[in-house]
């Protein structure tokens, strides 16, 4: 059940042009900032938005001219859209009923699906009596019960609180692994994407900017958005040997030799801050000015301006020692061995 899709949709002030592929059993995450076109892509795949150009091929069959009800693509919507007038059981039985199953048989199937998502004792409840996590699982069971050839999930965990999210994410992972068809998952939460997906497709401004598995993307981001997502400082420049010249003339020294257009990345924890110019080893040293300081886990994330904008992580103790506050002038250093360069 291989998916190969080219989605082109034009709206006033927005153009979506995305290519997507997914193998049977694969979970692909569409990750991107708000308004990037993730949900639009999903709606186009499901047939709820017409394509202006392009095609959708699933298993060698063109789907883009079919109505949504003929595509057999299951969707879990962001706010679930459980039918409020039907019980959990009848919500899940809706798909089998539409496929022509008699009522009793559809209900029996629905019962099975609800048991599989751990809601066997909630079958009689109406959607408004379910908690967020339960509603999410009913929505998943409802989509799966229709025996879709492909599954689409729109921000499946966004509406849940932190605690429920953790449990639900683990369960969802299990159900997605068991699903034989391809799954496309839309999210703006990198953690969801990394935990649930086999492959990530990053969308910005209606275009795919990077695809790859989690390890590649976290190690070698290609846009500012991805770099921020995975928490790296990212620059693009011209490499010759160990040096990389950035567009504004600043030069960073790396540990590996490269030539041509490259990306340079290093984590904020690799940046050391000093009140005065340090002596000796680090090759990358520059004066910088603190612009903002914020909490980041156990550390403090310091945004600095200077010849290159950079984010640095420091311990609270070091922050006190440095007297960190917006406008403070410091020296920033990064060891060449911490700086990774890779082809642009």
């Amino acid at each position: 059940m291989t998916l190969a899709a080219t989605l082109k949709i034009k709206r006033a002030g927005f153009t979506l042009d995305v290519e997507l592929t997914a193998a049977p059993g694969e979970v692909v995450a569409l990750l991107g900032p708000n308004g990037a076109g993730k949900t639009t892509s999903l709606r186009a795949l499901a047939g709820l938005l017409p394509l202006d150009d392009g095609q959708i091929v699933l298993d060698g069959v063109r789907l883009d001219r079919l109505a949504p009800e003929q595509r057999r693509i299951g969707v879990v919507f962001q706010d679930y859209l459980l039918f409020p007038h039907l019980s959990a059981l009848d919500n899940v039985a809706f798909g089998p009923r539409c496929r022509g199953a008699p009522r009793a048989e559809a209900r029996q199937q629905a019962q099975g699906w609800l048991a599989r998502v751990g809601l066997a004792e909630h079958v009689r409840k109406k959607p408004r009596q379910l908690s967020g996590g339960q509603a999410q699982r009913v929505a998943l069971a409802r989509a799966l019960a229709a025996e879709p050839r492909m599954l689409l999930l729109d921000e499946p965990l966004a509406a849940l609180d932190a605690r429920t999210r953790l449990d639900t994410r683990a369960q969802l992972r299990g159900h997605l692994t068991a699903f034989p068809g391809a799954t496309i998952l839309v999210t703006h939460d990198p953690l969801d994407a990394l935990m649930l997906a086999d492959r990530l497709v990053i969308i910005e401004d209606g275009r795919v900017v990077q695809t790859g598995d989690a390890a590649t993307i976290t190690a070698q981001p290609r846009t500012d958005y991805v770099a921020r997502l995975v928490g790296l400082n990212l620059y693009r420049g011209q490499a010759s040997g160990f040096g990389v010249r950035l567009p504004d003339g600043f030069e960073l020294v790396t540990a590996t030799q490269q030539t041509g257009e490259v990306f340079v990345a290093f984590p904020p924890s690799a940046v050391a801050l000093y009140p005065a110019r340090p002596d000796g080893s680090p090759r990358n040293t520059w004066p910088a000015t603190v612009s903002t300081v914020s909490r980041h886990g156990d550390a403090l994330r310091v945004e600095l301006t200077g010849p290159v904008p950079v984010a640095a992580d420091v311990t609270p103790a070091a922050a006190v020692h440095l007297g960190l506050e917006p406008g403070r002038e410091l020296w920033a250093t990064v060891k060449a061995t911490e700086v990774r360069a890779y082809r642009a």
Binding site: A46, G47, L48, A67, P68, E69, R71, R72, I73, G74, V75, F77, L81, F83, P84, H85, F94, G95, C98, R99, R142, A143, A146
Partner: protein
Amino acid sequence: MVCLILGVPLAWVLARAEFPGRRLVRALVTVPLVLPPVVGGVALLLVFGRRGLLGGWLDQTFGVSLPFTTAGVVVAEAFVAMPFLVIAVEGALRGADARYEEAAATLGATRWTAFRRVTLPLIAPGVAAGAVLCWARALGEFGATITFAGNFPGRTQTMPLAVYLALEQDVDAAIVLSLVLLAVSVGILAALRDKWVAA
């Protein structure tokens, strides 16, 4: 009944579909609201009368003539009362989330199934309210009926027409008829209100 069968789909079209001339259709549907019923009756006569726009054709092709028949009464009352239903149902449809229909479609429901099993139950209170209003209007309808369908006892005489006639000949009978009408109306409205508004 006629109003329900014609009116609900019409409201769906008005609420969901985008097509040129939708404003015009909506205006036409609601015209009977502002038109004096007698004028509505005259308009119906002009269209369906034996020498009217459609009436002549209907008469020749099917041998059907609507004016001054029981069917004529139904047409006249539906014409006057349907706007109440259409407006109520259209409002309910606009209030209902169209995305439930999309969710149903992804589960394999055709448009008709989605409408029948998802949208209709969601807007049931609106449909019920519209139907009651519509029925109440039809019950009291006088002007369009007497103009278009006349007043033949047993064929086209409705209760209000009977009351009007009785008033000129036998005041007591008129009062009895009026009381019966009043009792039936109040009874049915009370029962329906309890059933639908409470739910």
